[in-house]
Symmetry: none
Subunit: 190 residues, 4 copies
DNA sequence: CATGAATGAGATTTCATTCAT
DNA sequence: TATGAATGAAATCTCATTCAT
């Protein structure tokens, strides 16, 4: 029973990903989310209290699967540098898979409502900490310069991840050379 | 007369920056833009044909002033590295000044309407080319490794700029050490 | 269900007949149509896509019932002359019943929208053909002069129908002598 | 001075005929009437108190020229039958010349406002009386059957005039055989 | 006299949410 | 539990009219 409810919620969230992905939060209609999930409009409200809540939970759902995927993709790599390359590759795949929703909402703070912001910030922070951990591992490893400001370095690496979006925007490409980018960050461009 | 009309348009745009900044495109009301500009609702429509058009022109206005400010801030710097530091500083100041609007719309592609996207992409491209030019200058200078992929390097630098937002999100700070960041990019973190 | 929806549409159309009848298309408000039908404003839009569509369907509805009534009223008459008298009588009754809407829109081409015109023209044509058929029957019958131009005669008879409106305008009367008019048309006024 | 004012009013009215002709009363904009007349929007209000008044005066203006033209066209004809033929011809020309405005407003009672109705009715009545006079002349002449109800006959003849519009609607023609129609009315169709 | 910038009442339409079935 | 018909607040945009210049 509990599981049935949970299962149904996931179905709605996955439908919401498509709808919000295509139209964004404001233009994505609850009715379409329902139809798209194969249920009636009213039924959606048996599982969520409002459109905003659907959106919020959808975001949480995606973040969880992002964090999970990120951890998984880096887990098997030996060096920290390899881990970052793997992270970038994963990010690239994730972004391509969910490009629409992401473009609409995942990595930004649309003022959909003040109440959603803290959640997003919190999740961003978790990703940041994940990167920070890797940097610290690199310092212990000797892969990363120990004199460097760990937070600053993490931000630089996170930026790199964001840079992928720039790449996608500026030139329509279908793959990235993650290793090249990470190498630049490690060796410097000078 | 031409000037008066132009002046009034700017007033409305500046009011729009505040309103869209606070509420975003969808929740920002035309009536409030008007009131906020000290004029009547109908008057706004004497200068712009639609809410979308106000938004579009506001974006253009901001981008122009961004590009202009970016050029100005880098102009007097001797080395390319200094230019980038200056650019980061400028970006930081700009973002702080207009943080609201930017968060709402400046650096992202809300699906406000398909028709606005190309404009934004185009402006992003202009910024990219501005950075690319600096990278090339750095290569000629000897400041940047000539064997490096110029486009990749530019993206990395642009990413860095974007990274400032991460910094702002993760920890509430009121200044950044631009030089430190740029040094990291140039020297590498390893 | 299908029937319920259909029934509700008819209710709205009948409400629209009253509202458009009283105020015409432009001044007739959707909200009033709704209130007048005992439903909410939004509900109307569950059944029709726009005010224009309500109007269009209302016209179609009236035309159909007009044509139907016209056929019915003439059906039992033996001679063509009697048929025309019956048609005039029916027309008079119909016009009195729906005088407001008719005056507003039924027999004219207000430039409500170019898209409605062809519909109206088409329906006028159907009425014309109905009259034309009767004229031809009269020719076969010997009631109508076989040397006469059938189309012209039909137009003259149709005109007569329109003439009823003149009668209503010029002098406030509550009945017409259809037979007298038709006799005039058949025998001539000289 | 008086004349100048009068002259200017006529200019505005003629501009209004074009604008209302193209768009109808509700969609015809005062600003366009002004521009079309080569003057400023505000200036229109120096000559007319409201849009409605412009429309009203435009109607009066057209009716006057209609009545005048009708009288003129029939004046030189000897027989009453010829007079009617001439009247029909004139009507056809007038309608073709001003078809747009007429279709929009001249021969109907759009409920633009209750206050305009009586004017239109009154003008219709004048036309009716003009026809009635001709019928009486015909009776004196011996051209029209003296036993006939004069009012009824007038209405029939007026109807005929209206019938021209039917002709225009049903088949796109660019001339009418007025004599044929009038002959039908005089001789009967049986 | 002439103007046109400014105004705001008012109308259409959308869509999240409710609730009777 | 599931539904979808009904709702009405709320937002955009139009345009006749005013009035300071």
């Amino acid at each position: 029973m509990r599981d049935l409810k949970e299962q149904r919620k996931v179905e709605i969230i996955e439908s919401a990903m498509q709808v919000f992905g295509e139209y964004g939060f404001h233009k994505g209609k609850v009715e379409e989310i329902a139809t798209n999930a194969g249920i009636g409009k009213g039924t959606v409200y048996e599982y969520f209290n409002s459109k905003k809540e659907i959106f919020q939970e959808m975001l949480r759902y995606m973040f969880e699967s992002y964090i999970e995927g990120a951890k998984e993709s880096t887990f098997h790599q030996k060096t920290v540098r390899d881990k970052f390359v793997a992270l970038l590759d994963f990010h690239w795949r994730f972004v391509n898979l969910h490009s629409d929703v992401i473009e609409q909402s995942f990595f930004r703070f649309e003022n959909i409502s003040e109440s959603i912001r803290p959640h997003i910030i919190n999740m961003h922070r978790r990703i940041f900490e994940f990167v920070l951990d890797m940097v610290e591992e690199g310092i212990k490893n000797g892969e990363v310069n120990p004199h460097i400001d760990r937070e600053m370095a993490s931000i630089l690496l996170l930026s790199t991840i964001g840079g992928i979006n720039i790449k996608r925007t500026i030139s329509e490409v279908d793959s990235i050379d993650s290793r090249y980018i990470i190498d630049m960050v490690f060796e410097g461009i000078s």
